[in-house]
Symmetry: C2
Subunit: 122 residues, 2 copies
Amino acid sequence: MEWELQSDRPIYTQLVEELKRRIISGYYRPGEKLLPVRELAQEAKVNPNTMQKALAELERQNLVFAVRTTGRYITEDAELIAETKKEFASFHVQTYYREMHALGYGKENMIELLSEYEEECR
Amino acid sequence: MEWELQSDRPIYTQLVEELKRRIISGYYRPGEKLLPVRELAQEAKVNPNTMQKALAELERQNLVFAVRTTGRYITEDAELIAETKKEFASFHVQTYYREMHALGYGKENMIELLSEYEEECR
DNA sequence: TTTCTTGTGTCATATATTTAGTACAATAAT
DNA sequence: ATTATTGTACTAAATATATGACACAAGAAA
């Protein structure tokens, strides 16, 4: 799994998103132990402080928790994960609809373009 | 038309996007004269320097041009506008598809959720 | 001509972000 | 008991972003 970071937004914000994506997609399982901050940072080619900042934010949202000297783990609260996933999906549905609607595209166009892209990917 | 600015990304980046959105949606017409930087900045509740930075970027992309002492205008290059619109739309199609796909949603789900949201808006 | 408006440039300052380096406490591993 | 690993905290420095306050040149408007 890759860490694709752009330069047009704060890195730690992008790290929060990618970590969240990995949790709600199931790539990281509930209760799973994460790699240490320093290694995660190395993987993402980022400063440990920056990764720490991202993890602190996920902790604030209860998606991960730290056991001092032992390591950091994904939450076991499956309901929270499901809820977060739902919010994440809704956000993207809204964004897509609103951006396309603002350009004058209607529902049919949105679906059509989506289908075309899907075929392109296959 | 409102200037909705979030705090999680550089403001001038968001200004570039909003201005581009207004151009490719036809809200600003080809050749149309824009309000002076200072007024646009006031509208968006932003510092003139920040608005200037955004306009300079649009100028770099040839979407607007400045006539020194007279004002700033939208390009008359309809083809460039159409091309930019196409790119903008493709970007959102891709983003939506890839984000949802990463969460395990398939094409049918993507369409279903989109339809639901569309009804919600009506 | 004089005045006003335009885009543009510069300087200073404040804040946010990112990296680098270091250090510490707690506990697991030896 | 000693060592290594963990999260965490702190300082310093570099860069990016945003605002504020000016100033200037060139053309439009008076």
